[in-house]
Assembly symmetry: D2
Homo-oligomer: 346 residues x 4
């Protein structure tokens, strides 16, 4: 009953085996390993992007920050939502790498829209050299609130970005989960929808710790490489990153694991929805969800051994509701979900 | 009829004369001039702060950014309002100097309150190492919208800041105008109200270009000096800055000039208020004001030669209102104001 | 015959097995895993430093840069040698993380001495606020040229550092190899010799990719944590780093692997030394060495399949000597060395 | 007898008068003043560069650092000499603004040569992504040691820079003095000799505090403007900078003042050279010079009231020589020089 995060469970055995297999003999370092050559081809094939520049980073914060820094000038501002990971959970890493600032689009909702983005972009209009200049737009898919942009919603956002001459980055920490929800292809959710750069996450979906950064326009390649090295994120024994990503891309493992996580997410959401005292601030659309329940109910579930993240104060009266977050990883399975629901309904 | 900004008018003759007088013989550079020794004493006397560290900078952006960087760690976030100069008009200078980010408090209003500040500070509570850490609070007095914090409002804000263990910076680009409005002393509006550091502006109030940065706790002194030098803001021929500030502090010139500007501001506001078609989004409290008027009326006034800043689109139908800003500097005087009002009422 | 780098060989099987074992069930992330709790204790025991702050990073550049940034102010300068890794091989990462600059001590030699360090520190003496201020000293052990500081040499350097009031960092990418050469304890080579902070390398000595950063004064702990997160170097699935380091510290594996590498190094150096046409710019003291040989000889060895790094131009006349670098990792063994020597002497 | 620095004397009366004249009425701020329009034309005419981008900054450190940041990427290294102002006297400002590092060319000499520059550029050749990348070359003219690059020497340096594909910046804090020494035109000493960007100094030559930054290729213009603003170096009351520069360029005042300073410098150098106990480490070629004299002689001259900068320890035995620096500004004149020489020869 561990629902605190999808980065708390184990890596998939196929991934571990691939890492073990990669541990043979000598390899050239720093990305010149043979595994990486195969990964590059596999990513390009998967995204139908034969020219794309493909790189690996070991953490999501590194992937996001170095990618954004490559797209941004230090006097620009990056447009994102308030709850976005780059705003709230990266301890100023995007600002550190880019030298730029963040402008928050819309309100507390996790999705920006064409309208809220246009308003934010417009607001920078008349200040000339005085204000921050318009920089890239960054959206997160699956959003931090557990919702999923439709393809039309992405296109609406990227359309506004292009109208203002800025690029779009997609933080895909849960990229695979969104693909499963939408039933579309990686190309459809990215460059075909106007996205210029994507962090294709693996860490939250069964890897030990690897994200791919993909630039559909390879002109950014060398700058990204230099920024990655300058950030200390170029691995000498790069093969262990490559091997994870190769296993992830083999036989659609990435899709299979996200399907498992989303199936658990749906089973969990359905069970919660059936309980009279539980409500969702946002309708769950993938493998994570926010819920509200009476504190007494929360205490009962926690006492039964369920682990999850609670927002705000941990103390409080029993009649004050609790806002919590549940995340299903690929490994939690129906047994884990059912155990939780049994505790809830006990 | 020049109301575009209070940095567009001339410097006061006393200031120019002081600069001329300072241009004699040789002086030690970099702040070791005899004028600066006197300025330090005068500022300490004026602020009733005999231990304060006092420095000069030539621009308001430099004064704010270097002061804030001295108070902030790169992994922190600075709390300010959305319309604050440091957020909208300094092209990322605060982020550049501090390495930190800005968190916007409240909505579009220029004043933060104890309540909105508490909400913003609370929101950083549970993220541990992941989120930005709480850094200083920065308020602007006179605010960018032309309103003035009362002493109680300042104390309420600094009280919350102290409760959370962070310091308070006051951007006093129009410090003197606020003092005139409130009828209080510099000490009352700063350290007696809980402010730790202040940019004491001169540029918008009759100097060629000088702001004093004052730390009431001198432990920050050496770090500020190093940051100022590293930013290229330490002047070799520092005497010309000192001379301006010395003239400003002599015979209460700073207060006299702000009184003149505020008097013009009140005369202008009264005249506008008397016109049926003009309204104020905020009640003007010092020497600058935002107004709304029909576009046709705006065109008439501009055609008569009035210069001021217009927000948003410069085109539009005559029935769409215009949001504009008027600022009275020390030199515009009643003639300038009356000319404007005559054009308005013609 | 792979001597290009000690980051090109496999990780030790015990390390891989530990990583596999760690891949079970759910763990709290971001360093709160149970493996890390054990690692902290083991490192403190090994270094006889019960108060030390202990952290992991996945790359040597990250370990060095974040550690140095924690010890340095942005207006300071870090004292290191010209061939040091932080100067030549980290693409400005130390400057990026610290905001400071590097001052090169001595000439091209990899060891600084009390005399050359004093000269460099003295040279910053009279500039006041104008010049960079004195920051920490950083030495590399084993040096980048394959030599090893004696304990007395380290003490001489740290003694000068303390005299000038600055701290000392030790880049221990090959820490274990130096311990084996000197036959001393980790405590003797670090805090007992005046070192304040050490990067305790594992990546070049049989791990997949982990370095421990150790501050003997724990006051630096929280700042390091924040800097690590801000740099994107805090791993969510931290257990895989911890597991590697735990295996490294179990049954003295770290020492055993370095002993193996150094033994190979000595065997290789002895074989080279016995060849009339080979010379050493520096006497090899651990597991890496620079050599000079005629280009014809180099070509013969390379044609036989030996891989190693060649400095400068890869073209050239047969009568121009080649300067190359050979590194023995823990796995190359006597067979690998003998194969090389056979090719050399063929 | 004030020879400590050429930034210690007064500004020229024509400059002060121009500033007074500029203090009339209202002006648009931030460089949109009419004076600046004239300055741009005058600078372009003077440098025979009708397309050049021309900007003003108030300090030499700002001019150098922002110009270099505009020419440099954060992963590059700037090539300069060890005694260069950007290395020794700007408290990390060039690194702060650019994010890059500095590579020192040659030894302690103030002039780099084609040979020493080639060696330094070559040394970055084989490290790929690991080492700093080659960035711009920066030379100082007049050098910090009081020598002057000949046109051929400049061309030799810029020729190497172009061969390696990097640009050349010229720190012209004493630009005018070098022009007087060489008897050439500004164009000949800059773009005709291969220089891409120049800081055209005024502060050390009779202004209160203004340097012009000139990019011969205007593509850098907008980036420079943004970087200047982001650094807090865009003046709202810009007219006071423009007025100084306009006076400087009117009737060749810049050339006249430098001629005066150089004439004093020659008179002083001749007088020193005639003294048996004084020697020059470098032959003086403009208005500043380093000298060595017995401590006893130094004490006698200082006791007579002469002020100048002494390197290293201020204490010492009378038989230890003193290394000092003398600088003649435009205003010191033959009387000042003769007073010094009288004290020396008393």
């Amino acid at each position: 009953m561990f629902f605190a995060s999808d980065n708390s469970g184990p890596a998939h055995p196929s991934v571990m085996n691939a890492v073990m297999r990669a541990n043979e003999g000598f390899r050239f370092g720093y990305g010149a390993d043979e595994e990486m050559a195969r990964v590059t081809t596999m990513v390009r094939d998967l995204f139908e992007a034969p020219e794309a520049a493909v790189y690996l980073a070991a953490t999501g914060t590194a992937a996001n920050s170095i990618a954004l820094a490559t797209l941004t000038k230090p006097w620009e501002t990056i447009f994102c939502t308030k709850p976005s990971h780059i705003n709230e959970d990266e301890c100023n890493a995007p600002e550190f790498y880019s030298g730029a600032k963040l402008t928050l689009v819309g309100d507390d909702n996790c999705k920006m829209t064409a309208a809220t983005l246009r308003t934010a972009l417009d607001a920078e209009e008349t200040r000339g050299v005085h204000g921050p200049q318009r920089g890239p737009v960054s959206i997160t898919q699956v959003t931090e609130k557990g919702t999923v942009y439709t393809l039309d919603e992405i296109k609406a956002v990227t359309g506004i970005a292009r109208e203002f001459g800025v690029s779009t980055h997609l933080d895909g920490a849960r990229f695979a989960n969104a693909i499963v929800t939408l039933g579309c292809t990686p190309a459809e959710m990215t460059w075909k929808a106007g996205v210029d750069c994507v962090s294709f996450g693996g860490t939250k979906n069964g890897l030990m710790g690897v994200e791919a950064v993909i630039f559909f326009d390879p002109k950014h390649a060398w700058e990204f490489e230099l920024r990655r090295k300058r950030g200390g994120h170029l691995f000498s024994k790069h093969r262990y990153l490559s091997a994870q990503m190769e296993a992830y891309l083999t036989d659609n493992l990435w899709h299979e694991l996200a399907t498992s996580a989303n199936t658990s997410g749906k089973r969990l959401a359905d069970g919660l929805r059936a309980h009279n005292d539980v409500s969702f601030p946002n309708e769950p659309e993938a493998n994570l969800m926010f819920f509200e329940m009476p504190r007494g109910l929360h205490k009962k579930v926690q006492a039964a051994g369920a682990q999850y993240y609670v927002m705000g104060s941990l103390d409080g009266n029993d009649d004050e509701p609790v806002l919590g977050r549940l995340v299903c990883d690929w490994s939690v399975g129906s047994d884990g979900v059912d155990a939780f629901l049994a505790a809830l309904n006990a």
